[in-house]
Symmetry: C2
């Protein structure tokens, strides 16, 4: 029973704990035991909350006494290591000890605790969220492969049932890429919907906080709790809605768009097959699919590189001046050094491209409710692999990895990844569902229907079942 | 009568024309005659509207027939040469013929014409609005002196009664500085209140469009007409109010703040005397004056330089690539070249300083209604003068010139200059009145009361009376 409980959706875990059919203490103990057994290989956690079993027992006790403990009471959330936590250390994936990150709980962490959730531990991330591989974390579906990044620890832990759900942050795809490669769900909400208060910044105008979960409804439940305006993040807005209730609503009449340029280029055959199957499902549901073009995507990589490099380097400027970047890993130090040479003219042109892209996307949304794309052009790659062969051409894995996710960081649109099949090698492949600003309900509605019709939520990486 | 009419406030001109007591045709003819007489020396106009007398005659005719012609019917507005005009050429102050600027009337020009105003001509400006002197325009109060810039032609024309009112644009002080140095009123409205649609950009996030006029109420009347949201300027907002009706309202209870750092440094004795007299008037009206500090002003010059240099150079990037900047005047070409070397990291740090400054100003406005400062630390300087002695120290005139105006471009707050006295050499000195966002009514209310109590509006440069 308990070993099964760890695989259940957070939604069901919370219900069983609330009704007394399951025990929060037993769930926390099971996760701790599984982490002890599996994490030496996966390396998804940076540190654990030593008090979690005791805190879970207190939840059980309070519920027995009839105390209201919140909608997430007793569930065990893994927190990405760039979220500040009052009771656990925060390292943001760096080994440079001179850099200290401390403070009270981040907004999202505080909201989760308010809702009764337990913080299970902090998950490993690509250093400073500036990368897509998250060494040394491994992919539960194939331990020779990367879990993706930068929220790689959160995705790997979730896919191996080492937690109920997890938090991530997404600047160019850092929630959606690892969720996609590890076969779980994850959403980058509309820019501003979820506060980044207490999340160590990477690139202010691109950073988003959001959840990863095993089911679509779990992400919606978490969003029900973590949205809201936070004075400590001036970008955050009071636009919260009810999200979980959208899961299960009818989807007829939804107008679906696909983008006929850029998202059709350099897509691996396995990914194309899964995407075509997803569109078949859309048609089988009687929904319309229209093709559009977004010409500015041609300049998208230049735009996000200029903005992300520059703003990350602005944030690391003090560390550069203090000589601390010498201790960064090579790839991150190179990016920080490169970012110092982006000119303000480049930056402003990049912001102009971004404005054009927002307008082109808005034009699509004037006639459609959702855009569907593959989440990534390729499935997970081996940790030692730096190029991948796509339809006869060698492509850089890092350049390929975020091609389909970063446009929605530039435009701030809500974008969710949901499992959509497997490669011939048995690696997960995801579908990306993109909505209008603040139309997360629409995204969840269709993502949930897609998930229900496919039953991917029962898929477990064989070695961790 | 006609020669007196040219000096009257636009407000009175419009009323006399509407009632038939004065003729629009005679007014236009008088201005054309005065321009013919005085402008060979002042050089305030780039070109004249050859149809203006005919258009004025049609206004007279329509009014005689009882046709409603708009609140500004028959008044003669001088348009700064960076506003596009459908019927007159636009040169943006440059002699580089390869650069073409054409299109329909700018938003502000179209609104003025809708209100019955006549476009008298285009006024000379500092090349691309990137400077504070506007050669070869001269100051009507002393033809050896600069009129200020970049709207120098508008201010000089207005001060010499060569037009009813004028438009300007203000990126670091380009409305308020020439208005101040030429002894007229001018307002930089809240960022977004007046559309920049059809105004050739200088620095997107700092540019403001606004009026210059001989009286405070005339600026308010013009704002009544030119505010409103314009789809062609995404920064413009629908926040219009009624402004002219604020002129004459009681001012008791208004809470006045002064800034006790930065605005107290390197102020010439004449300017300090006029400012002290203005504060005496405030006290005599029974209003409170509180002192505050804005520590971030220490970094203000670095911030506006990084932002303005970078965004101007981003706009001129194409001209740089096409080799056209070789034809720019030396000072403007140097600024464009310098701006290419601002890094994006500098730019982002500048935007952070700006955010801090906005917060510090907001803190002052949480307890006060207005901030008063001198408009500039110095009166007009000679055209060949590049340093000025202030209290025993030599200061660069250009660096001094915009010190008190640019903080309100960074913060986007509404800021008006109103004549406040004269230097010992007989040169005009202004008072700057700054309000909360969109609180232009409050600014006009106090500016009008100040003006009425002093009667500066009757001051005429001796040689042009």
């Amino acid at each position: 029973m308990d070993d099964d409980l760890v695989w259940r959706p957070l939604d069901e875990q919370a219900r069983l704990i609330r009704t007394g059919e399951a025990s929060a203490k037993a769930l926390a103990e099971s996760y701790i035991a599984r982490i002890g057994r599996f994490d030496p290989e996966l390396k998804s956690f940076m540190c654990l909350n030593e008090q979690v079993v005791e805190q879970a027992a207190r939840i059980d006790e309070a519920l027995r006494r009839g105390v209201e403990c919140g909608p997430l009471a007793g569930t065990c959330i893994a927190i990405k290591d760039n979220y500040l936590t009052g009771d656990l250390p925060t390292r943001v994936g760096t080994r440079v000890g001179e850099l200290q990150f401390s403070g009270p709980d981040a907004w999202v962490v505080a909201r989760l605790r308010d809702a009764g959730a337990l913080v299970l531990g902090k998950t490993r991330m690509h250093e400073f969220a500036w990368g897509a591989t998250t060494p040394p974390v491994r992919n539960p579906w194939n331990a020779d492969c990367v879990p993706g990044g930068s929220s790689g620890g959160s995705a790997a832990a979730l896919a191996a049932a080492l937690c109920s759900a997890a938090t991530g942050s997404d600047t160019g795809g850092s929630i959606r890429m690892p969720a996609n490669l590890c076969g779980v769900a994850g959403i980058k909400p509309t820019f501003g919907l979820v506060s980044r208060g207490g999340v160590v910044p990477h690139s202010w105008s691109l950073d988003h906080a959001g959840p990863l979960s095993r089911t679509v409804k779990d992400s919606a439940l978490l969003l029900d709790v973590i949205t809201g305006a936070d004075p400590s993040d001036p970008s955050s807005v009071a636009k919260r809605s009810e999200y979980a209730s959208a899961c299960g609503a009818r989807i007829d009449g939804v107008r679906v768009a696909v983008i006929a340029n850029y998202f059709t280029e350099d897509v691996s055959e396995d990914v194309q097959r899964c995407f075509d199957e997803a569109l078949e499902w859309v048609r089988s549901e009687g929904l319309s699919i229209r093709e559009h073009r977004v010409p500015s995507l041609r300049y998208g990589l230049a735009a996000i590189f200029a903005i992300e490099l520059a703003s990350a380097s602005a944030w690391h400027d003090r560390a550069v001046q203090d000589g601390l970047t010498a201790g960064y890993t090579n790839d991150v130090r190179d990016l920080v050094d490169m970012g110092r040479f982006v000119t303000a003219v480049d930056y402003l042109h990049a912001e102009q491209i971004r404005t054009v892209m927002c307008r082109e996307m808005a034009a699509i949304f004037s006639e459609n409710d959702l855009i569907l794309t593959p989440t990534m052009p390729i499935p997970a790659w081996r940790v030692d692999q730096d190029s991948v062969r796509i339809r006869g051409a060698d492509r850089d894995v890092l350049a390929s990895s975020w091609r389909f996710t970063f446009p929605f960081n530039l435009t701030g649109l809500p974008a969710m990844t949901v499992p959509a099949g497997f490669s011939s090698d048995g690696l997960p492949i995801g579908l990306q569902i993109v909505g209008k600003p603040y139309a997360e309900r629409e995204v969840f509605r269709v993502a949930h229907a897609f998930e229900q019709s496919h039953g991917w939520r029962t898929a477990r990486p064989p070695r961790f079942s």
